[in-house]
Every structure is written in structure tokens, then in C-alpha cells.
Symmetry: C2
Subunit: 664 residues, 2 copies
């Protein structure tokens, strides 16, 4: 059961698609204080688990820390960071009482989940203008499923998006892309996508192509597609301020950019230097911005990633003036010693500065809304702009789309990647822990930068991380300019990498089928063990394994120099290890705790008792997989219902998309 | 067997105390190239383990990463940091061949242990002037023991140093210290030390006391000692430049500070502002600096910690001038937009700048040695200055002394703490992994800032970390100004903290006894499991447990919200959990893998088959422990040989220090 409460005058985020009546009276759980700002408080029991928050730091169980929904361009995902790129304000309290809470509030909101006081859950925000949805159900999973029903169907990408993709900030020319293609194809490593980071644009201008490097772009897109490769360009939030640049000029003319208090267009420096932010909260501006994706679609592009849409600000005009004033003062005062820490604080603090987010405004149905009041909706609406445009441009076609910043509601228009992580072992585990939480909030198409974006990677780290990536809907190796190159062919003994990527393709029909079932039924693709085994008291504790679909459990290795790992089986399972050269091993394991060996080039999974999964022969790209000939592995006589469609169109409800496969 | 090779003209670091002949001819293992710089290379086998490097990042097994010995004031111990505060150039290769290598070289040296190429070990440095010691033995442990014999006996602290200590950067007045004392004594939590961070000094001047806050200091020291508390002041490396400050004036007059090329005293800004570095590599200056510790000893102080001795440099005069020039240029050019990233790089890079370390010189026996050539010896010799002074001041007495920066050789004069870690769960595990590696290099008295120095801690983190700290010779809770207060009485339900600290005191006779045996026999206090069970192939893989002395194994919980952990037992053991109120539970566990439950307020340990350990009743401080009445727990009929002495003097060889205890 879901109750909707209203406090003050909420902003309509459109996160919830179901019409609901508003409840009167007190909350069933916890207490609300709306006197100065808004605070929800609840006394947790010692063993209560708190799930949710989507792309947030720390564990699947969010207890004993504090999280702040405040979309931030944060490249250092350290243990003590409270805000990352997303704002997913849904939590589930599971234990003595079971209930879910969705705080539909688009500005900064704090979830103190036993940080200040161990037993106290306190959710607070500055303004008491919000919708609060309270969901009761028999257990956490049931509550999540109810929530998923009211936020609308999750985004469904085309099937090629379940292939493997290679990316790196630093590819500049067609030759760079051809080299990547060659690296993969020569080594017989499957691949479906190469991502185009910011350098493909002319001077980082959205909806342009570098004039020198990407002449005859449609031919190049075609050349790649002939090899089974989709090029997936990035789109940034900020539109470069440049006379003669049509997107800029149009936006200015139509008044579609975010404005300062005085009505002038707000200037934020990002990659291109000075930019304006398209006012994606304004329906007309959103339509206008979305229609620009056509520039690349018309040249054969079928997928995009939306970046810098927290929106990231390197500095504002105002911030730059303050820094210049400070420096000038230092020079004028002729200080013998500069106050280095003050300067450092100022220089580091100039990016994503809170004051800048209070310096510009949106025009929402004629109302002027200060950005910081709706900050967490920007990335969501930028991606919505694209999603709505795709519907207009090619209503029957699916496009690949994922975003860095997001709010619940955006899950209907695209997936996400978890932003600029690092080549750290701890980030493999963080990747895993985010996945089920994201699924709770509707984000099914998701993944992390495999191998790590920042910092130098190592061969073993890339292999282990890609072995987890085999299972995430978005499987992409991505890294930053200046770091060690980490494409699968960079480290020698390339057959180890081939084996792992091939495993992705061998499992692709299953992964795709489970993804589609999850999306079509408002269900989860990744679940915490406790959601599947609610009566199993140990399952609740497990933070480094997860269930994938209805058939399998995964448990990646995430520690350096380990030859295996401990794993907990809530029931008897078949332990399968995929090894290189298309082989695999099987071992029956009993319910309980096990230590299992997993070599650096192996991909482990566990098939649940009585279940089976289809396996196909790997191919160079998703389209070439021959699903008419599939092996089925698992428990004898088990059956699996496969969902399969053409992967491009939207014929989801066709009963012919389902067929039953039987284990040998 | 140990072979000593000499390349070029090495600097005499005095790390090795044993006189040895120099070998002629080729190395038994690996290859040396001394053509341009120095490179040692060796092809590792797939399963070789590389141990060592003391206080270094990552695992007990150092494979698959790169480490640079280059003592650095590095407060961010991220996974990709290659240099921390120490330089411990000893490694052991264990597997197909077994040998140890000590690169006695006091400048920057790189250990690429399969980072660039998985099988390649490459140790390289700029100048081919070093001693290389090659040690062969039957296994890694044997090699370590041989190495320990040639580097001299490890530092032995007084017994009170095995008590618990509280610290925080931010205690300023006597009242602050009395409040800490009261917080512990009122809650009946044992404590032996309160540490005095930089604010006790007058304007951060070494060997001074804040004139306002620490009038009548000897009386205050006495007041604390009456309560069983030793005050332990910090000493920083840099001596403030200030007319009328006697330490400064003496140093200038005698020429005991490090000098620039032109002979002027080098100026580095640290906490006090401009400072000079005492030339601790010069024997006369070292004696002079060491003698100053008498200022505090004469007032009743019996222990110190040496900080900032990498030496840390916030900025040099030269660096500041460069920054000022840059800023002036920006202002003069009247730039519309400052190059923020250039400025950021410059501002962040001004501290610990490599060029600054090439701007000053030491006077070693009349030779002028540029600092960067001997950089890694500074902290070592600052602590040696103190250690040698203690010998002169009170030859029969033991002082507490530990340092931030160190080089092998310093282990004879003091312990170390592992520097400015963070309140991160991952740093509990890093703490654990550093300990056996430090022991290999002679550093027995060691520990990390429990609860984490930087970032805000949480109750559960402090409890879990202190439960590991129970076993580290240095057990200290320390945190940074501005972070959340984390003394044991700050979080409520203080009996949980009391139980953990009391466990330390209950075990103190055992921990002290094992420490003393390790020190007196040039042995290890903490060992990797593989050192004790060399035939056990799984023991080699274990990176989150360690052996402590001859009787026990420890396995702390280091993940948030976990109710227990997996543990591997190389033999049958007795699993003991210490709970609050002086109780404990016992459970016999068989050799093999187990999941064990460990509550947030419990301290687990495992007694080896056939062994036993003494337990004493907790007391408010180490001196008050009644060791005439001890319980002995463990396997029936087992015996334990306890080492006990007065804990203050140096009567180590007295046979009366040993007595045999029998398990009930």
C-alpha cells in the first residue's frame, strides 16, 4: 500500500507517473517536523537494514553513515564522500517494521542513517515543500516492486548495448578509433561499441564534429557499423558561448538558456570555456535541445551518453571575478607570504561552488525557479530531452542513452554510468554494491567504468573488474586521458581478456532476457540476496554477492592477488566457471559457506537449484550471435523461458518473444 | 647466507650493524644494470610472493603494483599512492626461489613488482651508488630472521607504552587534557597516555611550552602521573626562525642547520612558519638537537613522538617566490580568465616539492651532501638524535619514542606510527597489512591512528578499529582538528568501548611478553600466516589475518555493518571472544574455513593448538595490573613462558624475567 503525503508546495518533479490521492493525518511510521525546514525521523531497531539511495556510497545496507542527495561532479569516490552524481531519494527500512519512503524533493536532502546517533534515521531538507510517499509491504522486495510500479517502466536500450564497449578520454582521430577496432578484432575480442569522448567535437561544442578529424562522418559511422561497431558520442550539458555557433545563437534568441536574476544568460565555464546551460526544465527548451540530437542521428548514430549534467561548473564568471579579486589583493598588499591554504581552498572550491547554483534560474511554465531549488533535476531533464526527442524522431526505434547525473524519473529515459571512479580495487566492490540499489530506484541499465577511470590500472585489476562487468547491463572499459592505457589488448596474454569478454557474449541471450523481463515487469535485474531469500538470516549480511535475474547469483573477486574468495550459498547451487577458449567447469555446491578458487582469467557464476541458463557461442558482436543454437546448462530437466526480440524495435508485448528452453 | 655487494660509492646509512665482507662477481639471483642509474631485475614465477617494504601501500604480498621509497608527508593513503612516509627497502621473494634483497640506498628508489609487466620485478634508482644485500634461506621467514640479525636489535619501549593512549590534534589547555582524563576515568576505561599534539608548544617552537596554557608544567605532568597518565609531547622536525628563541639562535651560531648551496640556512615553512631543519645527518648537530629533549625530560616527560620529519615542507622561500611571481604575472597580464588548473597545480604542488629537496645540504663529516641524495634518512636520524640523547641522559631508562618518517636502522631507536590515515574502513585493513611487513624490517613498536586521523569517524568504525588496535604494540586513538570527536566516551553506550580497551589490558602481559621475546631474539611479533605454516598453500593467500607471537592468530572485522567474518584456520584452534564486563567465550574450531560471528563490542582471537595465553584482570593503567594473579586460557595442559620485567629499565637478560605458566 502506498500513501502520498504533501508538505507545503512541492515542485512537480514528475518522478511518479501514477495519479494518487493525498493522505491526510499523521504518518504511519516515524515523525515529521516541518517547522524549520523539514525533518523526518524514525528510531531504527538494532537489526533493521536500510536499503536504497541508488547511486550512493558505501554498502547495500546504508546504515551507519550519512548521504546527501546533491548531484555533484565528484571524481573522488572516497569512503567519506556523501554526495555523488545522482539523487535517488528512495529508501526501504526492513526489519522490525517494513516500509519504504520516497522523498520527492529536487533540492539538497540529507539522509542521516545512524551516522549521528546509531539508532536514529533522520531525513532532512531546507524547505518543507515536498511529496512523501510511504509504502508498506510484506518485505523490502515487495515494497520495491510497489515503488517501481508508480515510477513507470524503466528505459530499454537496444540489444547491441548489451555488447561490450571500449572508451577512453583521449581518442581524437579516426585513426585512434580504427586502432581500437583493430586491437579488438585482431585479437578476436568481441566488441559492439566504441565511445566518443569530448574530443570528437569541434572545440567541445555540442552537436558538432571536429572539422579536421571527422570529415565525412557518415561514411566513418558506416565503416564502423560494417565491422559491427556503433560509435557512441558524448553530449555535454553546457552549450559553448560562441558567435556564429548555431546552437548557441538559437538558444540565446529563443531564451532557452538558464538566466541570472537580472535576466542575462548565466555563464558557466566547462570544457569549451564559457557556456550557457540549456533550460531543460522548460518544456520548450527541452524539446529544442533534444531535437539537436538529430544532428548525429542523421549521420547514423544510434546511441549517446550525457555528461557533465549535474550540471558541473568549473567556475562561473562571478567565481572567477572573486578569485581574481583575491589574487589582486595579495599582489597589491605585496604580501611576503601568500596565505597558501586560503588560496588553495579558494582555487579548489571554485568548481561546483554552491553559490553558483543559486546564481541562475529556470523558467518552468512561466515561473522563475532558482536552480538550487531544483538542482537534482538537471541531469534527469537533459536526458529526458534526448529521450523525448528520440520518441519524436524515430518512435519505433530504441536508442542507447545513459547519463551521469540523474533523479528518479530519469530511469524512464535512459540508464546511467556511475561516473568518474578510479582504478582502485575498492571500486570494484562499490560498483557491485551500487547495482541492486540502482535497480530499486528504477535504473536497470547501469554500469561502472571497468578498469577504473582515474589513476593507473593494472592488468589484474582490469581482468577482475571486467569479470564483474560481464554481468552489468552496461559493460564498458573507460579511462581518463593521462592514465595508463587499459584496453583489453594493452597488457599481453590477450586471450585472458578475450575469454572474459567472450563470456559476456555467451551469456548475452540470458542477460538480455532477464533485463527485458525486469524492465517489462517493473522488477529488478540485480537483487540483494535477502530479497530472494527473505527467511535466510545470513543472506541479509551479504554485501559482496548479488542475484542476477531468477536463475543466477554472482560473486566476483575484488581483492588483489587473491586466488579465490568466500561465497555464501543460500541454497544448493551449481558453481560454473567460464575459462578461456569457450570452456567452462561445473561443480555442485551445497547450501552454506564455501571458499572457491577463481583464476584471474575466469568468470564465476552460480546457478540456483532447479534452474538453468542458455549459453550461446561467442561472436564478434551482439548481432552475430546465433541464438538458434543454444546450449542450456544448469540443473537437469530445468526449464528456462527466454525472452528474445529483434533488439531494435519496441514489439515488447508480442508473446512470440518468449520461448521455453530445456536443460539437457 | 648473506652476501653484500657494493656498487659505486654508497652513502653510509648505518642501517646494517654487522661488519661484512664485500662479494665480488655476479649476483646469484637476477641481473643488475649499473650503466645509466641502477636497475635490478628478476623474472618472477607466476606464484612467487613478494614480501616486505615495511610501511608501504597495498597488500602483505606486494605483487602487481609499484612502490617508491621517497619519504613523503602524504595524508591521502589512496590505493594508487606509491610513496608514504617511510623508506623500507627490504623485500623477500618467496616461491620458486627464496631470497631477500636489501637496497641500502637513501634516496628515491622504485620497486616495480609486476606493475609494468606482471612477471618482472624491477628495482631502480637514479644513482648506482648503493649496497645490495642478498640473503638466501630456506624460506621467507628464515630470510627475514637473518636480515633482522644484521640490522640490530629493535627498539624496546617502556611497559606503559603498551597501555592505551588518547590523542587529538586540537587539545590546547590543561583543561582539555583533564577533560580527556575524566572522560576515561569516569567511564572506567583504562588509559596510560595522553598525547600532546602541536598546540602545547609556544608558537609551534620545539622544546617550548605554551606560556599561557602550560605554566607550572612539571606540576601538571605530576598531576597526570598521579592518575596513571603519561603525557607524550610531539616534536617537529623544523626549528622556528625567531630572534631570541634559543634553539634557533644556538643552531644558527653553531652552523647546525641544513644550508643552501650558498651557505645560508635553508628556510622551509612548516607549522611555525619559517623554520630551519636541524642537520641530523651531522653527528654534532644530531647530538645538539637530541640534547634538547632534556628540556621536557627534566619536567617529568618520559615519551615523545617525532613528526613532520620526512621532512615535510609546506613551502620553501623559493617556492613561495615562484608562486608570487606567477600570481603577479596573472594580475599584470590582466587575464580575463585565470588558468585555474595551472594555478591549482602550482598551489597544490608547492608542498613537499621535489625541487625543494634539492635546495639544501647536509654536512656529513665535512662533506656537503645534497639533501635529495639522502632524503630518506632524515626522519631516521631525527629519531636517532633523540634515541642517542636518551642513552646519554638516562642510560638505564626506557623512553617511549616513535616517529612518522623512517628508514631501516631507525628501528633501533624508536617505533613508528603509520601517519595521517583516514576514518575509512579500508584503512583498518591497511593497518593490518602493514604490521607484519614492518616487523620484517625491524619495526616492532608500531600502530595506526585508531578510528582514523582525517575525515569524520563513526561509532562502529572506532569500535572495530580499536578491536584491531588491542593487538598492535602502539594502541592509540588519534584524530585531526576539525573532524568529529572520537574519544571512546563520545558515542554513547561507552561500556562497549570499555570492554575493548579492557581486553587490551587483560592481554597486556601476553602482548608485552611476546613483544619482548620478538625484540630480544630479533624475531617478529606479527607474522603472515605463511611464515608459521610454510607448507600450507592456502595460508599464503591470507591477507586479512595474522599471527601474533607464538600462541595466537588475529582476524579483525573490517567491513561496515558486518556481523562477523570469514577466517581460515591453518590448524585446529580455540576461538576466544572477549565481551564486555570482563567475560569471554571459547569455542573449539577445526582446521579449515569458518564464518565466525563477532559483535561490534567483541574482540576475537584464536589460540593455536596446544598453546595457552595468560589473562589478567584489567586495571586503570599498565602499572596497576596485578600479574601475580593470572588466569591462563587455551588448550589443556599447555604451558606458556611469560617474559616480565619492571618495564622501565633494561635488565633484559635476567633469567628471572621468565616464568612458566600452565593452563588450568
Amino acid at each position: 500500500m502506498i500513501k502520498k503525503y504533501v508538505f507545503g508546495t512541492p515542485f512537480e518533479t514528475e518522478a511518479i507517473v501514477k495519479e494518487m490521492d493525498t493522505e491526510q493525518g499523521n504518518l504511519t511510521f516515524g515523525k515529521v517536523s516541518a517547522e524549520s525546514g523539514f525533518t523526518f525521523s524514525y528510531l531504527m531497531s538494532k537489526d533493521d537494514i536500510v536499503y536504497g539511495l541508488g547511486e550512493a556510497n558505501r554498502g547495500i545496507n546504508k546504515r551507519n553513515y550519512c548521504y546527501i542527495s546533491n548531484c555533484t561532479d565528484e571524481p573522488n569516490h572516497l569512503e567519506d564522500k556523501k554526495s555523488l552524481y545522482a539523487a535517488h531519494n528512495f529508501i526501504v527500512i526492513s526489519g522490525r517494521e517494513n516500509f519504504g519512503l520516497f522523498f520527492d524533493y529536487p533540492a539538497k536532502i540529507t539522509f542521516d542513517i545512524g551516522y549521528t546517533k546509531e539508532e536514529l534515521l533522520e531525513v532532512s531538507c531546507e524547505s518543507a515543500d515536498l511529496y512523501l510517499y510511504v509504502i508498506t509491504g510484506e518485505n523490502a522486495y515487495d515494497i520495491v516492486k510497489q515503488f517501481r510500479k508508480i515510477i513507470g517502466r524503466s528505459y530499454i536500450p537496444p540489444k547491441f548495448a548489451f555488447g561490450f564497449g571500449q572508451s577512453r578520454w583521449g581518442y581524437k582521430t579516426k585513426e585512434d578509433y580504427r586502432k581500437v577496432l583493430e586491437g579488438y578484432r585482431k585479437n578476436h575480442i568481441p566488441m559492439d561499441m566504441i565511445y566518443m569522448d569530448i574530443d570528437y567535437m569541434q572545440d567541445f561544442k555540442d552537436f558538432t564534429l571536429n572539422e579536421e578529424n571527422f570529415k565525412d562522418f557518415p561514411e566513418f559511422v558506416h565503416e564502423m557499423k560494417e565491422e559491427g561497431i556503433r560509435l557512441v558520442p558524448i553530449i555535454d550539458a553546457g552549450v559553448k558561448v560562441e558567435e556564429g555557433y548555431s546552437v548557441y545563437e538559437e538558444g540565446v534568441e529563443k531564451g532557452y538558456f538558464c538566466k541570472r536574476e537580472d535576466g542575462s544568460d548565466f555563464i558557466a565555464a566547462v570544457w569549451p570555456g564559457d557556456t550557457h546551460f540549456p533550460d531543460v526544465l522548460n518544456a520548450d527548451a527541452r524539446k529544442w535541445f533534444g531535437d539537436h540530437y538529430r544532428f548525429l542521428i542523421d549521420q547514423g548514430i544510434e546511441g549517446f551518453w550525457n555528461d557533465m549534467n549535474e550540471p558541473a561548473i568549473f567556475y562561473s564568471r562571478e567565481g572567477m571575478e572573486e578569485l581574481k579579486t583575491l589574487i589582486k589583493k595579495y599582489v597589491e598588499e605585496d604580501l611576503e607570504t601568500l596565505p597558501v591554504w586560503e588560496l588553495e581552498k579558494h582555487v579548489l572550491g571554485i568548481a561546483s561552488h554552491p553559490e553558483d547554483y543559486a546564481r541562475f534560474y529556470h523558467n518552468v511554465d512561466g515561473r522563475k525557479i532558482r536552480h538550487d531549488k531544483v538542482h537534482n533535476l538537471f541531469g534527469c531533464n537533459m536526458t529526458r530531452a534526448a529521450g523525448e526527442a528520440f520518441e519524436r524522431i524515430a518512435p519505433d526505434k530504441r536508442f542507447l542513452m545513459f547519463s551521469r547525473s540523474s533523479y528518479i524519473g530519469m530511469h524512464r529515459y535512459g540508464g546511467i554510468w556511475t561516473g568518474d571512479n578510479k582504478s582502485w580495487w575498492s571500486h570494484i566492490l562499490l560498483n557491485l554494491k551500487m547495482m541492486p540499489s540502482l535497480n530499486m530506484c528504477g535504473f536497470l541499465y547501469a554500469g561502472a567504468d571497468l578498469g577504473g577511470f582515474g589513476a593507473d590500472s593494472t592488468r589484474d585489476l582490469v581482468l577482475r573488474w571486467m569479470a564483474l562487468g560481464v554481468f552489468t547491463p552496461l559493460m564498458r572499459n573507460h579511462s581518463a586521458e593521462g592514465t595508463r592505457e587499459q584496453e583489453a589488448y594493452q597488457f599481453g596474454d590477450t586471450e585472458d581478456f578475450r575469454g572474459i569478454v567472450e563470456t559476456r557474449y555467451r551469456l548475452l541471450p540470458y542477460l538480455y532476457s532477464e533485463y527485458m523481463k525486469a524492465a517489462l515487469n517493473d522488477d529488478m535485474y540485480f537483487r540483494p540476496l535477502a530479497f530472494v531469500y527473505p527467511e535466510d538470516s545470513f543472506a541479509k549480511e551479504v554485501e559482496d554477492q548479488m542475484m542476477l535475474g531468477d536463475e543466477i547469483m554472482i560473486a566476483p573477486v575484488y581483492t588483489q592477488n587473491a586466488k579465490g574468495r568466500y561465497v555464501y550459498l543460500p541454497e544448493d547451487m551449481l558453481f560454473v566457471k567460464f575459462t578461456k577458449d569457450g570452456a567452462y567447469t561445473e561443480e555442485s555446491l551445497k547450501q552454506g559457506h564455501h571458499y572457491v578458487e577463481i583464476a584471474i582469467n575466469e568468470v564465476p557464476l552460480f546457478i540456483r537449484k532447479g534452474r538453468c541458463i542458455p549459453l550461446v557461442k561467442a561472436a564478434k558482436c551482439a548481432e552475430e550471435l546465433d541464438t538458434t543454437h543454444m546450449d542450456v546448462i544448469g540443473f537437469a530437466d530445468a526449464e528456462y523461458t527466454l525472452y528474445e526480440d529483434d533488439g531494435m524495435h519496441k514489439d515488447y508485448e508480442n508473446p512470440k518473444n518468449y520461448r521455453v528452453l530445456k536443460c539437457r
